[in-house]
């Protein structure tokens, strides 16, 4: 009985958080849509970035059949996963990029005097419409990629694809949140540390087998970008050497999220609310 009540309470509070998150995010979206020109430019520029990236890979594969055994469409899949997850991050969780500034200016104070988790408030505090461009082109590329690779797409595998994309996006957001929480230690008017960590995702656009051990360790263990693109791709395309590790992706996602929340809360305790 007591357990049931506890579970119902938990569910209620999760539902409330999701509702509030969507409410705040919806307001941010409305605010941005008021600037129509910006919206179109952001969307369009994201598509251009993706398209040039795709052209780059395509040009390379005009000259060579594969990179370390990875074919064109497999590498496109890795690329697309990086962009889809980036799209999820910008469109729904752009707020992580605002945290550094919120802390620097002391505006973060206002999130601490409201009866809602500050993490949820931070995540819902901004919308990046370039994310929509990333999402759309990323999904198109994933769609083309999976139809060009000799793998049988059973419903089970498609479900796995969905799970892996969701997990990859979670890892990405967790990395963003954790690196944004650096703001509690390093005072800066703009997101230097998060940007720095973000740049590591460059490594995840290509098969990790091309890197030295140090780089591999960096993006598998320290900042798990490899689980955003490489390992899920290895699993989906039945790569013999790496596909098993791909199955760990959802676990890594949960782990990353817990670590990110832990880092954020540790930072919160040292928040000094200086305000510039």
């Amino acid at each position: 009985m007591a357990a049931n009540v506890a579970i119902a309470g938990r569910l209620r509070s999760v539902r409330r958080l999701v509702f509030l998150y969507l409410r705040c995010l919806g307001q941010q979206m409305k605010a941005i849509l008021a600037y129509e020109a910006d919206f179109v430019v952001l969307l369009f520029s994201a598509v251009i970035v993706q398209f040039t990236g795709f052209l780059f890979i395509w040009t390379i594969f005009q000259r060579i059949p594969n990179i370390n055994g990875w074919t064109f469409w497999q590498v496109v899949m890795m690329y697309a996963l990086i962009f889809v997850t980036e799209g999820v991050g910008s469109l729904f969780f752009e707020g992580t990029w605002r945290l550094t500034n919120l802390v620097y200016t002391g505006q973060f104070d206002q999130m601490l005097v409201r009866p809602v988790s500050p993490i949820v408030q931070v995540l819902a505090s901004a919308v990046g419409f370039n994310g929509l461009g990333n999402l759309v082109t990323g999904f198109v590329l994933i769609g083309i990629s999976i139809t060009n690779v000799p793998v049988a797409w059973t419903p089970g595998r498609l479900l796995m694809l969905a799970i892996l994309i969701a997990s990859a996006a979670t890892i990405r957001v967790a990395i963003n949140l954790a690196s944004a929480a650096s703001a509690f230690w390093v005072s800066s008017p703009w997101s230097m540390v998060p940007m720095f960590v973000h740049q590591l995702s460059e490594f995840a656009k290509y098969p990790i087998t091309i890197y030295s051990f140090a780089v591999q360790a960096l993006i598998v263990v320290a900042v798990p970008f490899a689980f955003v693109s490489f390992f899920p791709t290895a699993y989906l395309f039945n790569n013999e050497a790496w596909s098993a590790i791909g199955l760990l992706t959802p676990l890594v996602a949960v782990y990353s999220l817990l670590v990110a929340v832990w880092i954020f809360n540790a930072g919160l305790r040292r928040y000094e609310s200086t305000g510039h």
């Binding site: 020109a37 970035v49 370039n130």
Partner: protein, 267 residues
């Protein structure tokens, strides 16, 4: 003479500001190294898989190409771009308008101020990467090196002209991030920063040839590697100069139009 002194003061100030934000500068620099590293590993793997030359490039040449591209991209980047759009967005232009200075020239001074520092940092960082990957090809002789420096200077002028033109859009849109990102992506592809233009299929190469971007990386990098004969070099330098002048003039035109916009919006 006092006119020049005004602009050199602006240049010095922006260099000082870059020092002030050296941590950001350094992190930005190191962050962009990840990209260079990724490229090096990628091309290393590609060259290992297909020994010999690829698109006319040997592996040492390709390494040199990637680092020259990195160097050129590092120049006049960090401060100039950020500063220009922030200035415009926050309406600091109004005070600039009141100053007895040419707006474009003062922007140029502020963009060029940190360039020596950017150059040295990028060379130092590039040298470390070069050492880690077993050295790179150097210019064949002093003459090539000298012409390369001329071409690199011209590349920087083109970059200024372009960034200035693009930043003018801040007068008409509230956010410039999208435009900056889109411009950088197009520029990276067509300047040859991502991949030497020779690797492009004919149709894409034809597009690149009529755009200003190739003068920003490809031309100086190919001069560095000695991949162009003397007449071609002269021709390409001429093309660079034309684009530099053209973009700077276009920027002046855009500014004139923008001033009208400022007056209308009340700054």
């Amino acid at each position: 003479m006092s006119g020049l002194r005004k602009y050199s003061a602006i240049a010095r100030t922006s260099l000082e500001i870059t020092f002030l934000y050296r941590t950001s500068f350094a992190l930005n620099m190191i962050g962009s190294i990840f990209y260079v590293f990724a490229m090096f590993y990628l091309w290393q793997t590609i060259f290992l898989g297909s020994p010999g030359a690829l698109g006319g490039f040997t592996w040492p040449e390709m390494k040199a190409y990637l680092l020259v591209a990195f160097l050129l991209n590092a120049l006049m980047t960090w401060f100039a771009e950020w500063n220009m759009s922030v200035d415009l967005r926050e309406g600091r232009v109004a005070t600039d308008l009141a100053r007895p200075m040419d707006f474009q020239a003062s922007r140029f001074a502020s963009a060029v101020g940190p360039v020596p520092f950017e150059f040295c940092s990028a060379v130092a960082v590039g040298a470390v990467v070069a050492l880690m990957f077993g050295g790179i090809a150097l210019p064949a002789d002093g003459a090539h090196a000298a012409v390369f420096l001329v071409s690199a200077a011209m590349a920087t002028l083109i970059k200024f002209g372009l960034v200035y033109c693009v930043s003018m859009t801040a007068f008409w849109t509230t956010g410039t991030d999208g435009i900056t990102v889109g411009r950088a992506a197009v520029q990276n592809l067509f300047s040859g920063a991502l991949i030497p233009l020779i690797f492009f299929p004919d149709w894409l190469r034809a597009v690149a040839a009529v755009l200003p971007f190739q003068g920003m990386v490809s031309t100086p990098a190919l001069i560095y590697l000695g991949k162009m004969d003397t007449p071609t070099t002269a021709l390409m330098l001429g093309v660079q100069a034309l684009w530099a002048v053209g973009l700077i003039l276009l920027g002046r035109l855009a500014w004139r139009g923008a001033q009208r916009a400022v007056t209308i919006n009340g700054g």
